[in-house]
């Protein structure tokens, strides 16, 4: 069973009524790998993660966790997963420690000691009622129980949302350690710098489809580089210079050029434009995001 990928989505589709949310999504995550799922709101990230933990059944395709069919044998699949939902509404009458104990009580390999140590490290008071904790503190409990579950797969929906920078770094460091120990980590996020720092791979979801997937540097190279221009006077797209592989996005005085050429070459070509300001995209995931979803929005 160890030869099986930790998580394998195969042609997964799902619709909420008439709204198609996932369209034949395929994605494989190996043990020891950290994969970030990126996409705008409504892209289908949470729906995909929920199909792993039995919250919803996909209409088509299969979801496997360590070789176990997550639809047919959802219970066994869930035993492999430490899951942190994006929702931090919890049982407010319980203390942090009680909630942690309850959350991991059903996992065969869970460790309360690991969870409590993580809570302490993150500064969550263990004897305070959950209802009296801040949103960020609740988020930390949700993350701690996912890590403490002990299963080979950790699935996190928006894990760094509402966390302060220090807690974010701590969580990232823990997730790296878990991956080094052979656990697979799959998470969705809008925090692209966090994904860039943490992930071995990123997968971009757009309108229910994975439109790009790979290491951050590879994705940036594939997508091309971006130059953001601010002009002194408005121009139409027809007035802008073009070359093979160039793609202009924007309007009036703000334009973004997607290209694959050396920056010096590009500057020589656009030198005639009334440029007020210019900024190099630098090949980050944010640039990839802009390129992908800017194009999708059009």
């Amino acid at each position: 069973m160890d030869a099986e990928p930790a998580v394998f989505f195969d042609q997964v589709s799902h619709a909420y009524g008439s709204q198609q949310v996932l369209r034949g999504v395929s994605l494989k995550i190996e043990r020891g790998e950290i994969v970030g799922l990126i996409g705008p709101n409504g892209a289908g990230k949470s729906t995909l993660l929920r199909s792993l933990v039995g919250i919803l059944r996909p209409d088509a395709g299969s979801v496997r966790v360590c070789g176990i069919d997550a639809v047919r044998d959802s219970l066994a699949a869930r035993q492999q997963i430490g899951y942190a939902p994006s929702e931090t509404a919890l049982y407010h009458q319980m203390t942090s420690e009680e909630l942690l104990g309850f959350a991991i009580a059903f996992h065969p390999k869970a460790s309360l000691a690991v969870g409590l140590a993580l809570l302490e490290e993150l500064g969550v008071p263990r004897d305070r009622r959950v209802g009296k904790l801040s949103h960020g503190m609740k988020r930390k409990i949700v993350l701690a129980q996912a890590v403490a579950s002990g299963g080979p797969v950790i699935v996190l929906d928006e894990p760094t949302e509402a966390l302060d920078p220090e807690a974010r770094r701590l969580v990232e460091s823990h997730l790296r350690q878990e991956a080094d120990g052979g656990r697979a980590v799959l998470f969705s996020s809008h925090d692209l710098t966090s994904v860039e720092r943490l992930c071995h791979r990123a997968a971009f979801l757009c309108r229910g489809e994975i439109v790009r997937s790979g290491a951050a540097a590879e994705l940036a190279a594939e997508t091309g580089r971006l130059l953001h221009l601010e002009l002194r006077s408005p121009l139409q797209e027809e007035q802008l210079p073009t070359r093979t592989g160039w793609n202009w996005q924007g309007q009036a005085v703000r334009w973004t050029l997607q290209h694959n050429d050396a920056v010096e070459e590009v500057l020589a070509v656009i030198a005639g434009l009334p440029i007020a300001g210019i900024r190099d995209g630098g090949g980050s995931l944010e640039e990839v995001f802009d390129a992908l979803y800017g194009a999708a929005a059009e």
Binding site: I55, L75, L90, Y91, F106
Partner: protein, 256 residues
């Protein structure tokens, strides 16, 4: 399983205490009111407008303490407070998870939805039914204070019959809770349906189709005489089992 039961029970604890105290207080008050009631029964029977309620008083006039106690404890006390407790506590058994947005957290744990529902229903049933038995048993001890005696066997059999009736209402509430996304809506529906059924009980001609016709004084008179309505109790349990099975099936299919 213990973690599930404990988590659900701790949310019910104070409500169960309140429900038991109310049930006990109503029962004690009813017992100590009995001597005054006994002396004024003929006058009261003339004042009551509904035929079905007049019939209850006639039964009290003819047979004394047992029908009086049956009306006070089971027909009125257990059904009134029992239904309120079921609506209040039971309506949230699943709907509260949707209401408070904790459903995703709970149902992503590696525990089957069927088990969650069964454990919670068992805890709820215990929370509702145990006070019924306890208050009935304490009535056996208190009744001699007003010069009356409640037979152990008949009292326990009557409590068991009431328990079967309440189990059916619990199952109906659980089913509504599984179907609902709002606890309040499920609770109001239960209370509304029970009130409707009680109103039906007060209307001559259609009263025999009311749920309350199955727990009226005549039924408890039979139990007091040693004739337990096995068939009707079986129907309550069968209906409860059917509704719980349906609730389990629907919960398995539900998405959040």
């Amino acid at each position: 399983m213990i973690a599930l039961a404990r988590q659900y029970a701790r949310g019910l604890f104070w409500f169960v205490c309140g429900y038991f105290i109310l049930l006990e207080a109503a029962m004690v008050a009813a017992i100590f009111y009995w001597p005054k009631f006994r002396d004024n029964t003929p006058a009261l029977a003339k004042l009551i407008p509904f035929q079905s309620l007049q019939d209850l008083l006639t039964a009290v006039q003819q047979s004394g303490y047992w029908p009086y106690f049956a009306i006070q404890q089971w027909f009125k006390g257990c059904s009134l407070f029992g239904v309120a407790a079921i609506a209040f506590m039971g309506s949230g058994i699943i709907a509260r998870e949707a209401d408070q947005r904790t459903a995703e957290f709970l149902f992503s744990r590696p525990v089957s939805r069927r088990r969650v529902l069964r454990v919670r229903t068992a805890v709820l049933a215990l929370a509702i039914l145990l006070p019924v038995y306890l208050s009935s048993i304490s009535a056996i001890w208190i009744s001699p204070a007003v010069g009356e005696r409640l037979p152990w066997k008949a009292t326990l059999m009557a409590s068991s019959y009431m328990a079967c009736f309440l189990l059916m209402l619990i199952a109906a509430t659980v089913l509504l809770s599984v179907l609902s996304t709002h606890q309040l809506r499920a609770g109001m529906l239960v209370v509304g349906l029970v009130l409707l059924s009680f109103a039906q009980y007060l209307i001559q001609g259609i009263d025999q189709w009311s749920l309350f016709a199955t727990i009226d004084v005549w039924t408890f008179m039979k139990i007091g005489a040693g004739q337990f309505p096995w068939f009707r109790a079986g129907c309550f349990l069968a209906a409860a089992a059917g509704m719980l099975t349906l609730a389990e099936t629907l919960l398995e299919r539900r998405t959040w």
